[in-house]
Amino acid sequence: MNLVEGKTGDWEVIIGLEIHSQVSSNSKLFSGASAEYGGAPNTHVSLVDASMPGMLPVLNQFCVEQAIRTGLGLKGIINKRSVFDRKNYFYADLPQGYQISQFYHPIVLGGYIDIETQDQQEKRINITRIHLEQDAGKSIHDQNPTETYIDLNRSGIALMEIVTEPDMRSAYEAGEFLKKLRSILRSLGTCDGNMEQGSLRCDANVSVRKPGDALGTRCEIKNLNSIKNVTRAINYEVERQIDIIESGGAINQETRLFNADTGETRTMRSKEDAHDYRYFPDPDLLPIIVSDDYIEGIRAKIPELPDEKKERYMREFSFSAYEASIIASDKDVSAYFESVLKEINNPKLASNWITVELFGRLNKNGLSFADSKITVDKMVSLLKLIDNNTISGKIAKEVFDIMFETGDNAENIVEEKGLQQIVDTGAIEKVIEEVLAENQDKVAEYRSGKDKLFGFFVGQVMKKSGGKVNPQSLNDILKSKLI
């Protein structure tokens, strides 16, 4: 068990997450306005989004399909009847004075994600529910000392709120859950998972207890906008709560805000100040009724998900679990890998060049996969040259360095720099003979039993040929010459 050491003994940490993920959709949940990120303030706002008098919400069926797809991808149960409720509260960036959400009858119940814990154990994190709801607008407080501005571009955008059971026992597990969730959502195409743009936002419910005790009082930490901040906030909160209890205090049930600059959490509102949201079914909208056929139609179109992909790679390509998961966990990477494989059927070679050579260089340069100049075609051009012995692995790395910088094609670089491997036996023999002639003393030593000098000769030949001699041919010919 993963415990945190305190002054009075070990503590168990209990974490549940609520994730707001923006549904990938061109238009909003209840209006035809664009759901695109960015855009000048208040340019993606319909009369419905601004809650003009007499305006009515009309459900965007595509968002329903996306929520069902997500529910199926997360192995949940799709409710054939779900209902939109109004969550009533006043705020300047909430134009209706209520948020349309699904409180009593969400569209998805249950589901789970299996994660790997710190000690490499597989662990199932259960999902309580997924419901559809609309986003609020944005209040902008820092443009003017006395005024607050409202941007309604986000108002009405479709969100899926994914609520987990309190199954996580460390910040690490919470982070792993989020990574895995993001990768599944991206594979499904139901959320782009972009935390910087707010497509995926997370609230964490955290409490601590002595192992075996009843659940402690929890605090909810709001609006964590990166996986790093989720783990930082949880770790801070755990220490804060343990400190309070160990010094004789009690935890107040409250909502807290994380400050990414200081790494601390602070009170946002206490339980006493909690809103009474007065949920009730939205009379402007009919219940969502879906048939088995409709659900099965969506299920049939669900792509292979990261876990299934990982298992297939292990099975079909004999990849290690680690290697398989690096490629399988990211939809773009696995798509890249599989496109490369279509052109050159050498999974080991492809995986090695993607996960070691390409990712190594990206990491070193602080770049993301999306920034890479090595398109599928470029990667294939290189791997083909390696696969058919035109260049050696060593040369290939030099070529790849240039490709990585310039984005040029491998063949062009090899051609231009004359880096083709020498495979012609006569040419190799010629170089070897030159080397042996220049080092007759060493040849004598070798022949008298100093086997280790073999490497010296190889090195000399490589040096003379600029590394272009095929190593296998070199070995074979050199051995025969030295007998």
């Binding site: 009369l47 601004a50 809650s51 003009m52 008098p53 007499g54 305006m55 009515l56 919400p57 009309v58 459900l59 109004r86 009533n88 006043f90 705020y91 300047a92 134009p95 209706q96 004075g97 209520y98 006395t146 607050t148 409202i150 009474d276 007065r278 949920y279 009730f280 009379p283 402007d284 909208l285 009919l286």
Partner: protein, 491 residues
Amino acid sequence: MNLNNLTIIEAIAGLKKKDFSCVELLQDHIEALEKHRDLNIFITETLDLAKSKALESDQKYSHNTNAILEGIPLAIKDAFCTNGIRTTQGSKILENFIPTYESTVTTKLFAQGAVMLGKSNMDEFAMGSATHYSSFGPTINPWKEDGSNEQFVPGGSSGGSASAVAARIAMGSTGTDTGGSVRQPASFCGIVGFKPSYGRCSRYGIIAFASSLDQAGFFGRSVGDVALLSDICMGHDEKDATSANIAKPDLAEAMKKNLKGVRVGVPKEYYSENLDPEIEKLWVDSLEMLKQEGAIVEEVSLPHTKYGISAYYVIAPAEASSNLARYDGVRYGLREYKQGMSLDEMYEVTRTAGFGSEVQRRIMIGTYVLSSGYYEDYFLKAQRVRRLMSEDFKKVFEKVDILLTPTAPTSAFSLDNESQMDPLSLYLNDLYTIPASMAGLPAISIPGRLNKKSMPLGVQIVGKRFDEESVFRVAKNMERCFNFNFSPKGF
């Protein structure tokens, strides 16, 4: 020329025959309007617009490109958003609100050539039964009891639209009906008022009071006129998720049928000690009249009727408390703000200044019944009652085609009648109209006769959900039998 007493159908015939022009027709109505401004029918008059529209309509008649309602002067309840024309919902909070969009109902009417005289007065946010809860003063009923110098209420909330038609200022008008806001004023004003089934007319662009009950309705001085307006406005609209995507009823065909074999139900629970004896008499006589026309009359039971008002006054305020949250002074409408106020303070002063007493009362009731701890006891229980009421109707409509009931328990009362004008008595005035609203049924009020003090009395015909045809079939025949052709004195 005095064209004010024509029905819409007669006027259209006259216009087609070039007996008179749209401009002349409009002019007579404008004269009536100007003569009776003391009735306070309109919040906003749009006479210049009306005049240019009438000119256009005359052009269309001369080119034979006239649409169905070409040149007919109508009053539009100020609950319907009209593009570029102030729309207040009877409230100070929207006193200066000018929509940039048009409601579906008015879009359809204008597309058929209707000429709008103005936006008619109403109880603020359609909450009321006397049109005195308007931020723009009460509307007065053109009818008066014999010998009385008091002012009588037109009913509500669509009182401006009802008075306009009774006073021969408009030929027809639109209303909205949430718990009786078209049918009760129709009965108080001696005209025909119809509320279609919930889902028949799009609510798009109608400022919401209680979304699950709100429905557009229509006033006219004849059943045929109201059928015409309804026929134009009913139909599916993808902009309203609750609008029904089913075929429209054929009202014209239905009105050709006689009453032979029509089964008429009389809900026994509707006999009430609060029912005015003269209205009860009208009701009983009407049943006799129906029998003579060949209808089969039988007593039926709607056992949950007695909970109707209580349940309605939980559900409607609950929805209203949420629907009216958007009037917060942030984006449009009234904003009361002084430098240094917090957001919550701005909400408080804005909403206190912008909403009248009845609206505030209902927001508070609605907020209360939705609050945690009360939701189950009030809101859920009221929803359960509503379902039971609907089931009552379902059962009854297996046996009968329509129900005949009083429209209101009283005739129009005086503005000074304190016992009638207190909030609770006004709620009780919705006794007979609320059940059809709760079940989403089509219902019409038609004038039957005058009482001893010469005030009009109405009866209500309620049909099965989406069976507007039976409602109009019976209404048309009863209209002929009643032969009600009274108008208020001086109109």
